[in-house]
Point group: C2
């Protein structure tokens, strides 16, 4: 997801891709819609590039992909700080926690402690869920499992219903989360 | 400031640079300090790179510098959404508004309207100021000037006093702004 130039392999194995869409594009589309309609200001952070060579005349560079030290998306909604990432799995029975890097997990915890809202948008079994960071922390604290069962997600995360425009209108699920947590 | 590979020219004309420092590094240093000490979570967004060529085997790329569509820094402090940029000028009598791009000005307005805090850190006359976005908007609304006089900044912005570690401890100025605005 972080490598715009490497989409080809990624496109092969998602159902979204079979429909000519991908999770990242749908979230970007939703974010653009929210900005255009003055609903929220949420942006994807640029992919970090380690620069190995700079041509000062043409302002062109050579480099390599680096890992984002935070999550991919952040911004503001209803005065609240929002910080999240998008994840997908081909696995039908569970979401492997190996999809989440240690520093991402730590970042989610930090954001919540500082009073922000942090979550994952998870694409699994051709469904999309918003998993509150608090639930994620609760699950990993109470379980030694290396994956979150699909059933847990289905029963506890907030389902994002797809619509025409924007397709992945995740702000309704976010509204539910804000309401549930009395924020 | 946005071109890590192009620092050489930039280093030439700042006083910070003469001391072996630059504004961006000092802000990054402060942000790291705030993260380490659990004071705030504020990060510089990666420099956006337009990718022209990808080597799939080595994961290396070729590309060019793109413009950030937002401001360079954002995050959370005391539960508040923070969004700002750093600017410097060699000009001693005023801060030229040409330093601020139209889309940056619009972004500052948007952030404030959505309930966040947005400001500029301005390095002028070997002093550093935190200029509240509200003041910036007020000034540009009431003036046709193409620059903000140094006197206006001196009298209205919040001065950031330099210290040993972190050198540019801007959070104290931010605290003043939060207090002034009753946030």
């Amino acid at each position: 997801m972080n490598y715009p130039g490497l989409k080809k392999t990624y496109h092969k194995y998602t159902n979204f891709a079979n429909r000519g869409m991908d999770l990242e594009s749908l979230i970007n589309q939703a974010n653009e819609y929210y900005i255009q309609n003055d609903i929220a200001l949420i942006y994807k952070k640029p992919t970090p590039i380690g620069i190995t060579k700079t041509n000062y005349n043409t302002k062109t560079i050579q480099g390599y992909f680096k890992e984002q030290s935070t999550l991919d998306y952040n911004g503001i909604y209803k005065g609240l700080y929002i910080d999240f990432d998008a994840k997908e799995t081909k696995n039908k029975t569970s979401f492997p926690l190996s999809n989440l890097h240690e520093h991402q997990y730590k970042h989610i915890k930090n954001v919540i402690r500082h009073g922000g809202i942090s979550f994952l948008i998870i694409y699994i079994n051709d469904e999309v869920y918003l998993l509150d960071g608090n639930l994620l922390i609760e699950f990993t604290t109470n379980n030694d499992r290396k994956s979150i069962p699909y059933e847990f997600i289905k029963n506890n995360a907030i389902k994002i219903e797809l619509k025409v425009s924007p397709v992945l209108d995740y702000i309704k699920a976010l509204d539910k989360l804000i309401k549930e947590r009395n924020l």
